[in-house]
């Protein structure tokens, strides 16, 4: 490939090394220091994509985050990354990139037909059509969706990793240009802990493409000196390739650090994360984010070859690339002249400087006078002409004295590059995100930061100060004062002398009238990516969309991936003019995070996957369950054994076996996950009285009681058994999923409502391993294991607890049962849990002791009619609805009591818990099946309840179900119909919810 556009010398690239890469399938090369954009420009590539709506060919406009056109898909397979800006992609060996829009290829784009039809496609056209026939939108939409969108999501998972870092700094500095550098120096010398964040590969900002001498040194030399001093401070951190993407409340800032993209996939040091998200709290913030140059708005200003003046300078000075053989400048301020000088010094033929002002700055005029460049003062470029490779010539026309109209056509000038400068827009994004309101400065024709709301200050170009001297001074002042306000006074910076030209004021100039080359379809682009034009803004205003937010939404102005960095200010100025207001009255749209886009993976960080998305909690016996081949169920964060299939067993076979073994022999359940709260203090029983619906005054040490906890709304919130360990000392158990919420709930009442109660709470869930040995042989097995207690029914009655030793391990043993069987629940210190479990399994071998999981636990308790809170209740169920009036004290107050006597909660026809037996005993109803009164009804079918639990009971040899049914308690023996998703209807008989051993003789035995 030709390197025709690469300059022989200069630039911050390393010509000694060549980097090969491909773009749209063709091979190219560049040098270290290049971006994808600069390397392609160096090899004569001018067209980088097609626009979104009209599919017009587009070239490079900018040199950084503001670039709207040159969007590329970089990398392959899992590393493929969409929508990167070629101006920000650093080259690495083997990089592959494709343009994201343009099908089938860039040169011949079928969508370009939209350009021909563009008169039918003004802003918001889609709101006015595609409505007929009524069903057709989905068809239209398919085509629209296919045409829209930019790059492709990768088709494979991301092989890279991302991480986060939390940090605290005294002074946070956003931007490493001249302002940020002096700010950092001022703060660092004061001794403050400083974070300096810069978006680019190297510090320096605008100095990287500026010829200005600082204290007699080049900008690059000065940067190097400052950077060296900054790096000598141990409390200074400098982040390059990092963007401050969001400024949130209480001086919380988010920085996106890009760590490996510049070396390419798989090339980075192993284990280095691709990106890091810094979550920073700063005492003081200095915003030094510079300014973004504005384009000028004229017909076909999107032609490839029309570039920001600062971008032209950047490509020449920083990347040693001349963007064309010949160029011209169109400007309304002095900075365009620097582009002319840079083009001339790069050997380009500069054929015109077109300045809308009658009086450019004397200094810049003098500077360009050494070159023989025609200067048109009081002129504009109203239109341009293009060929296949972009810009061919520009039209120059004389402006009227007021600058509003064109009075005469001056002529055409051939050129390949037009450097445009419509002035500078301070990057007030972070100030605005922090809560500040930018205000319009009419003199400078830009929005500048308003009053700070948080501990921040803007300095330099982002505060509207566009001279280097002012930037250095303001930066130093900001850094010194930020340090002082964070407790580090005494910073100092000697501002070096700078030789820069005296600037003449710019002349606000928002739109050039159409010119001689303009056809009928004049298109003056504001938002290049969304093809939003000046006439779209006027159309919106004409149609009544007059708030800037309406205009933005109606025309898509600023919705591109550059987030309006280029076009928004021009757009709002044109709107202001249309409405006869000032830009300040129209105001900006809200600047929202992110300043530049942030990778999803970076925002997610490490919290992904089976291990880290959410912490996994495992019991002390977990490894045994795994070895035994258990299937696990997620319950809250816990992994609980669901069932333990033996060879060839499906879940039903396993559950039937586990249930039968427990009812007929002995089963064992790992119950460690239930929440356990240790409650102590002289007022503990009083507190329990307030929490639970039943009475706790008379519970003696060593006795256990079941309780319901209600919300203050009277609805069942949690349940469990609480044991009195000693006077004023209780151990409460909660549901597995509800443990954390219940503890918080109790603490809150104690601390905020009843602080006079002397009660102390401790979560002891993880301290204990709990296993429930259940079944007729439970006592025998436990005796075999070895227990120093009399386990007989008289010595150790149902609902009591004793402390003793099991297999020599200190244990609390409770006779409580959720299965309805004779059961001993043994709690030991967690680190003894696995040992005891294994001992029990060995001791029980002769009785075919069978571990059972949550599914069997559910079946066994359903046979007994025991509810599971959260399954048989749904936040709309009272204890009375569950037929458990007996558990609700009439005498005392408790949380939720008053709600039980409201008219709706006292209503007789509420949904009540009943049992269901399908008339075909083998038919198991699906949980969640809706219940209705008759076999066939017209929609909407009145539903009178639903199935909350449903199983095949191997013990009973039939299906059983629990259901909530309107007025169910008075409908015993009645028939009800379950409607299933497959359309079938299953009749069932309403019965008591206790299917097995209603007298509970087994549990008490």
């Amino acid at each position: 490939m030709s390197t025709a556009r690469r300059l022989q010398r200069g630039g911050l690239i390393d010509r000694s090394r060549r980097i090969r890469f491909s773009f749209n399938g063709k091979d190219y090369f560049g040098h270290p220091g290049d971006t994808l954009a600069s390397a392609l420009l160096a090899q004569g590539v001018r067209i980088f994509g097609r626009s979104f709506k009209y599919h017009r060919p587009r070239g490079i406009v900018g040199a950084g985050a503001e670039e709207p056109n040159a969007l590329v898909q970089v990398g392959e397979g899992g590393f493929s990354t969409p929508n990167l800006k070629a101006t920000q992609v650093e080259l690495y060996e083997g990089l592959t990139a494709r343009t994201v829009n343009g099908w089938p290829n860039l040169a011949f784009d079928i969508g370009a037909i939209n350009n021909r039809l563009s008169r039918l496609l003004p802003a918001g056209f889609y709101y006015k059509t595609f409505m007929w026939p009524r069903s057709a939108w989905m068809r239209y939409e398919r085509h629209i969706r296919r045409a829209a969108g930019l790059g492709h999501a990768p088709s494979l998972p991301d092989p890279d990793h991302y991480d986060k870092r939390h940090a605290h700094f005294d002074v946070f500095i956003a931007g490493g240009g001249p302002t940020g550098l002096t700010a950092a120096l001022g703060a660092a010398r004061a001794g403050a802990r400083v974070l300096l964040v810069d978006e680019q590969t190297q510090l320096g900002g605008s100095l990287l493409f500026s010829p200005v001498l600082i204290g007699g040194r080049t900008g690059i030399e000065w940067i190097a000196e400052l950077e060296a001093e900054l790096r000598s401070f141990p409390e200074v951190t400098i982040l390059s390739r990092s963007t401050v993407t969001g400024y949130y409340d209480h001086n919380f800032l988010v920085v996106n650090q890009r760590r490996t993209d510049h070396v390419g996939p798989g090339q980075a040091e192993p284990r280095l994360t691709r990106e890091r998200l810094w979550r920073v709290r700063a005492k003081q913030v200095v915003i030094a984010t510079g300014a973004i140059e504005r384009p000028l708005v004229f017909d076909a200003n999107d032609t490839p070859g029309v570039m920001l003046g600062s971008a032209v300078s950047t490509y020449i000075r920083r990347y040693a690339v001349s963007p064309g053989r010949s160029g011209a400048v169109f400007t309304n301020n002095d900075s365009g002249y620097q582009s002319a000088l840079d083009m001339a010094s790069a050997g380009m033929e500069v054929r015109a400087i077109v300045d809308v002002r009658k009086r450019p700055g004397a200094d810049v005029l003098a500077a360009v006078s050494t070159y023989d460049i025609p200067i048109y003062q009081g002129y504009a470029v109203p239109s341009v002409q293009s060929g296949l490779q972009g810009l061919k010539r520009i039209e120059i026309a004389k402006l009227s004295p007021c600058g509003e109209d064109i009075v005469s056509h001056k002529g055409l000038v051939d050129c390949q590059v037009l450097a445009i400068s419509g002035g500078w827009s301070p990057a007030v994004h972070l100030h605005s995100q922090s809560g500040g309101r930018p205000r319009y400065d009419a003199l400078k024709a830009c929005f500048v930061p308003g009053r700070p709301v948080q501990a921040e200050r803007s300095a330099g170009a982002c505060a509207g100060s566009f001279t280097l001297t002012a930037c250095l001074r303001e930066g130093a002042d900001a850094g010194i004062s930020a340090a002082a306000q964070s407790g580090w006074p005494g910073g100092y910076v000697d501002i070096p002398a700078v030789e820069e030209s005296v600037q003449a004021p710019l002349q606000p100039f928002w739109e050039v009238p159409a010119g001689a080359l303009s056809g009928n379809g004049v298109k003056k682009f504001l938002d290049f990516q969304n093809d939003t034009t000046a006439s779209d803004i006027r159309l919106a205003a004409r149609e009544g969309y007059r708030s800037i937010e309406h205009v933005k939404r109606y025309t898509a102005l600023g919705f591109g991936t550059d987030q309006g960095k280029l076009g928004n200010i021009n757009g709002l100025a044109i709107l202001a003019k249309t409405l006869g207001k000032s830009p300040g009255e129209v105001g900006t749209t809200t600047f929202r995070p992110n300043y530049t886009p942030v990778t999803f993976g970076t925002v997610a960080g490490r919290t992904l996957g089976e291990q880290l998305f959410d912490p996994v909690r495992k019991t002390a016996i977990h490894a045994w369950h795994v070895r035994r081949g258990a299937s696990f169920e997620n319950v809250g964060q816990w992994k609980r054994p669901w069932f333990y299939p033996r060879d060839g067993e499906d879940m039903h076979a396993a559950v039937n076996r586990e249930c039968l073994a427990t009812r007929n022999g002995v089963g064992v359940l790992d119950a460690s996950t239930l929440g356990k709260i240790d409650i102590r203090g002289p007022d503990a029983a009083r507190f329990l009285n307030l929490l639970y619906t039943n009475n706790w005054d008379n519970l003696q040490p060593g006795r256990c009681r079941y309780g319901f906890m209600l919300g203050e709304d009277g609805m069942v919130m949690d349940d469990g058994v609480t044991t009195c360990l000693a006077p004023g000392h209780f151990l409460m158990t909660t549901t597995t999923g509800g443990a954390a919420a219940v503890l918080t709930w109790m603490e809150r009442w104690l601390q905020t409502e009843w602080p006079d109660l002397k009660v102390y709470l401790t979560s002891v869930t993880d301290q204990w391993s709990v296993m429930s040995v259940a079944g007729p042989c439970a006592r025998t097995v436990l005796q075999r294991v070895g227990c120093d207690l009399d386990l007989g029914g008289d010595a150790f009655p149902f609902m009591s607890m004793q402390v003793g030793q099991v297999a020599g391990i200190p244990a609390r043993i409770s006779r409580i049962s959720f299965s309805g069987e004779l059961a001993f629940e043994i709690s030991v210190e967690a680190n003894q849990g696995l040992a005891l479990w294994e001992t029990i399994m060995v001791a029980g071998r002769d009785y075919d002791i069978t571990p059972y999981g949550t599914e069997s636990m559910h079946v066994l308790r359903a046979e007994k009619g025991y509810v599971i809170v959260g399954q048989d209740t749904d936040g709309s169920v009272t204890p009375m609805d569950l037929g458990m009036d007996w558990i609700v004290s009439k005498k005392k107050d408790f949380i939720g009591k008053r709600s039980l006597s409201r008219s709706d909660t006292e209503r007789p026809n509420r949904k009540q818990l009943v049992g269901l037996k399908t008339q075909d005993p083998s038919r198991v109803l699906p949980e969640g099946a809706q219940l209705v009164n008759s076999r066939q009804e017209a929609q909407p079918v009145p539903m009178i309840g639903h199935v909350s639990s449903s199983y095949f009971s191997a013990n009973l040899g039939r299906s059983i179900a629990l259901a909530l049914v309107k007025g169910g308690l008075s409908r015993m023996g009645g028939t009800i119909y379950a409607h299933l998703m497959d359309g079938s209807v299953v009749p069932a008989t309403i019965c008591e919810p206790v299917f097995f051993d209603p007298e509970n003789q087994r549990g008490k035995s």
């Binding site: 949130y248 409340d249 209480h250 001086n251 919380f252 709290r281 809560g435 709301v453 203050e712 709304d713 918080t744 603490e747 809150r748 601390q751 905020t752 409502e753 602080p755 107050d893 009591k897 008053r898 709600s899 006597s901 409201r902 008219s903």
Partner: protein, 93 residues
């Protein structure tokens, strides 16, 4: 992202805390004497202040203590932090 000063532990990140809603809602001494409407007012109605709002927070990932915060619900600026049982600084309720 709020930064909240726990009265016992000092300044910590919002992520260590749980929000508890409006502060100073006193549970009625005798709920059984209230009408359904009065009970509903205690149970559900909230000031939902736009402006300085007295609210409860819990330092759940720290000392686990509840406390009160005066916070502006528009600017999110925290005006004051005080312990349960104390009156909001500056008179207040």
């Amino acid at each position: 992202m709020l930064k909240i000063e726990c009265p016992w532990c000092g300044e910590r990140d919002q992520e260590e805390f749980q929000y508890g809603g409006e502060a100073h809602i006193v549970r009625p001494e005798r709920p059984d004497t209230l009408t359904d409407e009065q009970w509903a007012d205690y149970l559900f109605n909230r000031a939902n202040t736009k402006g300085v709002h007295a609210e409860q927070w819990c330092h759940g990932a720290g000392c686990r203590r509840w406390f009160n915060v005066l916070r502006d619900t528009v600017s999110y600026v925290i005006v004051a932090v005080y312990r349960p049982g104390e009156n909001p600084p500056g008179g207040g309720e």
